[in-house]
Amino acid sequence: MKKKRMKSVLLVVITSILAILFLFPLVWMVFTSFKTLSESLSSAGLFPNEWTLENYRAIFSASADSNMLRWTFNTALVTLVGTALVIFVDVLAAYALARLNIPGKKIVLAIVIIALTVPGIVTLFPAFYLFKGVNLLDTYYPLILPYSAGTLGVFLIYNFLRSFPQELEEAAYLDGATQWQVLTKVIFPSIKPVVTTLGVVTFLAIYNDFLWPSLVTNNDEMKTLTLGVATLVQGSNFVNPAAMMASTVVATVPALLIFLWANKYFVKGVTNSGIK
């Protein structure tokens, strides 16, 4: 027994060391954002000798070459509307495919699965050219709408519903519930875990998408945070690591908070689907 205890203490120690190594870049990012320019360029230590908020003041000031506030607003709008749209579209489609004996069901299911195997790169440039053709570059439409064409969500929810007992819904129908009532009162609560998982995955995918927004956005005003950070990295005069890290902290913290909040649902969703 003593040997077993020793072994588990050793495992915890090893895992902790790895965890510290893993978190180091993030911790370094945060501390560097509070350093002065000269210190950030020469520093070989983690903590600032002289703490400063100058970097944050600079990136949010009116004369800044970055547009941090606007980018944050764009990101919030695009990710929230985009995620809601994906969930709405996918839940309705998956419900109809799994529960209603609709015409053409097999064809739609085949489409969903075939589309999953086709790499995204083949549609990217033509989609950009189509948006260009209808003068919708530098608007919110290409930043939000195309994500709802993804079939992964339909596939996940469809599979989840297929393995879920139908008795409850049938009882509701017998009691005179309408289809809409069954959908909102019976189906929605039961698919919550998989929808939450889809929601978080979609949110992070839209938040962190880089290539697609970079194709359909030129105007600085229309950039998302992810795209904005790329602009800063590529900017020729942006050679200030402290200010750079302040920007990445601002661009990263919202996603990290959402992620940490959703983490418990994530784990639950995966566990629930595993029990069955």
Partner: protein, 338 residues
């Protein structure tokens, strides 16, 4: 279910939003892309007429500019896959095994820690590693110079093999947590009783892993392998922002090559053909991986074991038990096959 014909058609309404979106943002671009790839299509002025397969010929015939771009970036991308996939799969499995053996209370905590970096965007990851590994004023160089380990700054992002090293480290750090989560969940479902029985009978740690754990996480391992190869194929942000494709064009990825063809050279037709070729190559490699794993599985089905037999195997394979078991010669032979 109790439904009339009318409600059947009514149910179709639920699928319509998805179908419209799919039609406009997926099917149309796909078909349009194929159509564009068969035309002399410029980004600035549009269509200059049908040219059949000439774009594909231009890409696949040696000594044309677009052949060089495509082949060079394809070669770089395949090299990146070879460099990044093994650590992404092995490190994630190692972390998952480590976490699986921790006390329950700590599991969730460490799982979150190693998964945390997945929530960061590729541009933030690139900005971070660009300055950790910066040549002048970068943190790693500052430390190495101050401790006297090196006498002059290493050009991490501008010299090979350092450039690939930084890109691979950044990528592994960024995405290894996702693979780890998949492995952790698969390990959670391995039958605990088997481990306990094996422990009682004194099976070694390696044999427990080989004969109890590995067969149970086989499917998820194949899934992780395939999705990781696909993800590495899509290398773009890291090499665009950390090394700018350099030194020379040595870290320029396929997507960067296609992007440059469309936007730098104004050739939307050739770029679309390149994108389709890339898609076909990716699907072929994915198919090959499926086929290879499926073929192995078929070979193995003949000797698929019930839990009890797997346990027996884990024990028999250990050198201590060999002499006591009459059946070991057969067991050992089978071990070699698998």
């Amino acid at each position: 279910m109790y439904m009339t014909k009318r409600t059947k058609w009514f149910g179709f309404v639920f699928v319509i939003p998805f179908l419209i979106s799919f039609l406009i943002f997926w099917l149309t671009p796909l078909l349009y892309g194929i159509w564009i790839s068969l035309h002399d299509f410029r980004l600035s002025v549009g269509n200059n007429g049908f040219i059949g397969l000439q774009n594909y010929v231009a890409i696949l015939t040696p000594t044309t500019l677009y052949h060089d771009v495509f082949m060079n970036t394809l070669k770089n991308t395949l090299l990146f896959i070879a460099l990044s996939v093994p650590p992404l799969v092995l490190i994630s499995l190692g972390l998952a095994l480590l976490i699986d053996h921790l006390p329950n209370r700590l599991k969730t905590f460490f799982r979150t820690v190693f998964f945390l970096s997945y929530a960061i965007s590729v541009t933030a990851v690139s900005a971070l590693y660009l300055w950790l590994f910066g040549a002048n004023g970068g943190f790693i160089n500052n430390i190495l110079l101050k401790t006297g380990l090196i006498s002059s700054a290493i050009n991490w992002t501008g010299d090979q093999p350092y450039a690939w090293f930084v890109i691979v480290v950044a990528t592994v750090w960024w995405t290894v947590g996702f693979n780890m989560l998949l492995f952790v969940n698969a390990l959670d479902e391995v039958d605990v009783n088997l481990y306990e029985a094996a422990d009682l009978d004194g099976a070694s740690a390696w044999n427990k892993f080989r004969y109890i754990t590995l067969p149970d996480i086989r499917n998820i391992s194949i899934f992780v392998m395939i999705t990781t190869v696909i993800a590495s194929f899509n290398l773009y942000g890291q090499s665009l922002l950390i090394t700018r494709g350099g030194p020379g064009q040595s870290t320029s990825s396929l997507i960067m090559g296609i992007h440059a063809t469309v936007f730098g050279n104004n050739q939307l037709g050739i770029g679309s053909a390149m994108a389709l070729l890339m898609g076909i190559i990716m699907m072929l490699i994915t198919g090959l991986q499926y086929w290879a794993s499926y073929r192995n599985k078929r070979e193995e089905t003949g000797q698929r074991r019930e839990p009890k037999q797997r346990l027996k195997r884990a024990l028999n394979a250990g050198p201590t038990n060999v002499s006591q078991q009459p059946a070991t010669t057969v067991e050992k032979k089978e071990r070699k096959i698998t």
